[in-house]
């Protein structure tokens, strides 16, 4: 969605920290170990927490790779072990770099190469638990992005606010032209720095931001205003429309669409 000339300004640093910590909190990610093989022979073992682990712990007496992975998982106390041939990895990385389409933006390309990675792991790696990485709490950004793209269309603006009770926790406003995002900002870019603080309760603050977004970025096609818990649930939901519907009913999410 990003235009190559996207302007990305007046981002509130504190709000951005909130989002970063939320997405990258270590306890949200599974711990993994990766075993590297060359023609079936182990070459190196790396455990996310501790780096490279000597191959002394490799269960050489176990001929079945699935069982090797499971034994290593228990030994290293990680959520998942991936065993993969070095040649497969080399091919994957090569394919990832060949995959760039000159029309792709960052997200398009990232999703494409991630898809290749997931495909490789599910088809050519041995995993415990396996055979795929499904079931781990990674955020399916693609559907969220598609939802915004569909709602905004080729022209217009959008606004996402997340409140922790009545305090604005994170905000993102964007303007779309010719189907690409040409400007991104936060509440800081909608409300001048010398303006009085946004009024609580959050419903009123949201209305003020919506008005400011309309005035600054043009007609708002989509505005989503979440309570923090609802934001987390919606972001991670496997069925986005259903999750949005659910939180709208409980008044933890306010949607504006035009």
């Amino acid at each position: 969605l990003l235009s190559t000339s996207v302007v990305w300004e007046d981002i509130d640093a504190a709000q951005w920290s909130n989002l970063w910590r939320f997405i990258h909190s270590p306890d949200r990610f599974p711990t993994r170990a990766i075993g590297l093989l060359e023609a079936g022979v182990p070459v190196a073992l790396v455990s996310g927490a501790s780096g490279q682990v000597p191959l002394d712990i490799w269960p050489y007496d176990e001929p079945v790779l699935e069982a090797v992975a499971e034994r290593l998982r228990k030994e290293l106390k990680v959520d998942q072990v991936i065993l993969v041939e070095l040649s497969v990895l080399s091919s994957l990385w090569d394919e990832q770099q060949r995959f760039l389409n000159s029309e792709d933006d960052y997200d398009d390309y990232l999703f494409a190469v991630r898809y290749l990675t997931d495909l490789m792991i599910s088809e050519q790696a041995v995993c415990a638990p396996g055979p795929t990485i499904k079931g781990f709490p990674e955020i399916p950004y693609e559907q969220f992005r598609a939802y915004i793209a569909e709602a905004v269309g080729t022209e217009g603006s959008f606004l996402i606010n997340v409140f922790d009770r009545d305090a604005l926790w994170w905000s993102l406003a964007g303007r779309v032209a010719d189907g690409s995002i040409v400007r991104l900002t936060s509440s800081q870019g909608l409300v001048p720095p010398d303006a009085p603080p946004l009024h609580s309760p959050w419903h009123q603050a949201n209305a003020a931001l919506l008005q400011a977004c309309e005035a600054t970025l043009g007609p708002v096609r989509l505005a989503l205003s979440f309570q923090l818990a609802a934001f987390e649930a919606v972001l991670r939901a496997s069925n986005l429309p259903r999750a949005i519907d659910r939180f709208t009913r409980t008044d933890d999410l306010i949607i504006w669409r035009q």
């Binding site: 300004e9 951005w16 780096g51 990232l110």
Partner: protein, 667 residues
């Protein structure tokens, strides 16, 4: 050792602005200019805002402002450039002069600056002839918002031909604005030349010009193919037949030289690229001021700090880190202080780009104190003035000052002035050395070479986060890359926890440089290059103390017998098998810790000049720490930073530090 201010003889000697280990010296008067600077990107702001923004920079206490000059913004078509409106770089330089600010100018060609395609004109990155290639011949891609792009090959003559158009246009402007005719006191050649962060051994660059560069490096080293064949145990008819390795396949020590050479060529690709850009600047009249370069990292190959400072006047390292990364920043600063002409951070995060973890005010404060504690003398804050694709700067996009954030910078500049920071030296008795041939071995023996796609690697991202060595001994008694890290990291931990005054160094440094330290601690395995062995022995003959381990080398890196160190009768060499024995060895060398402090989790550094001393105490842990400090002759500690009460000695000083706190005491 406190005499850090030794100027290397060639540092800026032919220029009006000279550079030494404390900063810059201007003109014949040798006026001292401390290099405390901040970035402002003129083209991102309306010209009317330049003067008020520069005034704010000055008001924070800075005397130097830094700016890129973006090729892509100025180029209208090949060979045609615009310098009007907010692109009028000369008007910006005049505005800086009017506000009594000196300038660091960075004309690229690579600048990043969070611009799409990093400041190169789009026509360049789309030109397939200029693109760097992966091991299989595909264009190498840098993945970054808003658009991934193919990276350029700095081995390509055609690329440098394109740079000529840009430099021919911009250099005359810079040349006529050099000190004393204008405000420019430093010019940077290129930016973060590092394979666009693709720092693994077998990912890039395998373009035809890069392979030709590899062969030229071999020819320069071996001179004849017969010598190369003897070393490689090969039968090449000419250097043109040698192909670079595309993965680590060595199974015996005899195969090692070709991989060490590839690692060396990867270093040379960087130093030769920087040299080429710096030479182009010099040829176009940038002759009054020093030329600098910056790298995004420091540790091991492909970086080579000492070689880079043979191509430019000063080479620094950029840091965008958070307070929990104290150890990484500390080691980087110790390495710069232990190797660089001027320990300089050319980009120190004041805020961040939106696709990175924000650097908060508390991070910036901890980072500043960590850098000073471990020997940094010059800093450029990037970005002091916020702009498109940046957040968290002390000065906003409208010239507004964010008081909460700005407070740190005012306080820091006040401390630097009050302490006369350029005049104090960090006490450094010991240098813990990186040995280049082992670093090349460690680099070349990586089992995997992921491209720089941390976000795209998903569940495989740990392969990029860690050094992963192919677990083969190659016939050596030890698995050297792993033992190297274990021994060196163990020594560093021992030196920190026992409070020795130490820095990190590099075996590439000159004998004169190394001889400034009372003791060298050097990792050593079965092989070590003859040149390194001879330098270390010369250091011992000069009276230095050499602590070496875990064993004595018996061959050179090609496997030929070389017993320069093991057969010497010189006194002053101590072999230490285990890192835990370092303090005993230092004691035998009459090197003592800085002070007695009964908490090994707390770290110390002492800076002093003839009249003042500053003791830094760091708690890098995530829990509160306390300890009792005993230093002979020390009766009072006065808070020099403003976060602690004064202390007087009562059976020692009772220190108490919050998690990740650094205290600065005047004593």
């Amino acid at each position: 050792l406190t005499e850090q201010a030794v100027l290397r003889p060639d540092a800026g000697s032919a220029t009006t602005v000279r550079l030494d280990s404390r900063g810059l010296l201007l003109g014949d008067s040798r006026r001292r200019l401390a290099l405390y600077s901040g970035s402002l990107h003129y083209w991102q702001h309306d010209q009317k805002l330049w003067a008020p923004m520069l005034r704010q920079v000055r008001e924070l206490g800075f005397e130097v402002v830094d700016t890129y000059i973006p090729w892509s913004v100025h180029e209208e078509e090949r060979g045609v450039f615009g310098f009007d409106g907010n692109r009028d770089v000369e008007a910006f330089l005049r505005a800086c002069e009017a506000e009594e600010l000196f300038v660091i100018a960075r004309p690229g060609p690579h600048i990043n600056a969070e611009l799409t395609e990093f400041g190169y004109p789009p026509r360049l990155v789309r030109n397939e002839r200029l693109q760097a290639r992966t091991a299989s011949g595909a264009p190498a891609i840098h993945v970054i918002p808003p658009k991934a792009f193919p990276i350029l090959s700095y081995a390509s003559e055609e690329f440098f031909g394109e740079v000529t158009y840009w430099f021919d246009a911009v250099c005359p402007i810079l040349a006529r604005n050099q000190y004393p005719d204008g405000p420019i006191v430093l010019v940077q050649a290129d930016n973060e030349h590092s394979y666009f962060f693709k720092l693994t051994p077998y990912d890039v660059d395998y373009s035809a010009p890069a392979i030709a560069h590899f062969r030229r490096v071999l020819q320069e080293k071996y001179e004849t193919v017969e010598v190369l064949n003897e070393t490689y145990r090969a039968e090449f008819g000419s250097f043109d037949e040698v192909v670079p390795p595309r993965k680590f396949e060595a199974t015996s020590r005899e195969e090692l030289p070709q991989y060490l050479d590839w690692a060396y060529a990867k270093e040379r690709y960087l130093t030769d690229g920087v040299h080429r850009v710096a030479s182009m600047l010099r040829e176009r009249g940038i002759s009054n001021v020093p030329i600098s370069h910056n790298s995004p990292g420091w540790h091991g190959v492909p970086y080579n700090q000492v070689a880079l400072e043979q191509t430019v006047d000063v080479h620094g390292v950029d840091f965008y880190v958070h307070r929990r990364e104290y150890g990484y920043l500390k080691q980087g600063c110790q390495y710069l202080a232990g190797t660089a002409r001027l320990p300089f951070i050319p980009e120190f995060g004041a805020g961040t780009w939106p696709w990175w973890e924000p650097i908060e005010d508390a991070d910036a404060e901890a980072n500043a104190l960590t850098a000073l504690m471990h020997g940094i003398k010059a800093i450029n804050y990037y970005m002091l003035v916020e702009r498109d694709r940046w957040l968290g700067s002390p000065i906003g996009r409208r010239g507004d000052v964010r008081e909460d954030t700005a407070r740190l910078y005012r306080r820091l500049l006040e401390f630097l002035r009050a302490s006369d920071w350029t005049s104090v030296d960090r006490r450094s008795d010991v240098l813990l050395l990186s040995v280049r041939e082992y670093e090349r071995f460690a680099f070349a023996s990586r089992a995997v070479s992921p491209p720089f796609f941390p976000e795209a690697l998903g569940p495989l991202a740990d392969l990029l986060r860690h050094e992963i060595f192919a677990e083969r001994t190659l016939g050596f008694e030890q698995w050297i890359p792993r033992e190297l890290r274990a021994w060196s990291n163990g020594c560093a931990a021992e030196l920190s926890s026992r409070h020795y005054a130490y820095l990190l160094g590099d075996s590439e440094s000159s004998l004169e440089w190394l001889s400034r330290f009372k003791a060298l601690i050097v990792p050593a395995f079965e092989f070590m290059a003859r040149e390194t062995q001879e330098k270390l022995l010369a250091y011992v003959w000069r009276g230095g103390k050499l602590i070496i381990g875990p064993r004595m080398p018996l061959t050179d890196e090609t496997g030929k017998p070389c017993t320069v160190l093991s057969s010497t009768s010189a006194e002053g060499i101590h072999v230490v098998e285990h890192a835990g024995e370092i303090s005993q060895a230092l004691s035998k060398c009459n090197v003592e810790p800085l002070c007695e402090l009964d908490n090994p989790n707390l770290e110390l550094a002492l800076h002093s000049n003839g009249s003042s001393s500053y003791l830094f105490v760091a708690n890098p842990t995530s829990t509160s720490q306390s300890g009792t400090l005993n230093c002979p002759g020390l009766t009072e500690l006065r808070d020099a930073w403003g976060n602690s009460e004064p202390l007087t000695a009562e059976a020692g000083f009772h220190l108490s530090l919050h998690p990740q706190q650094i205290q600065v005491w005047s004593c």
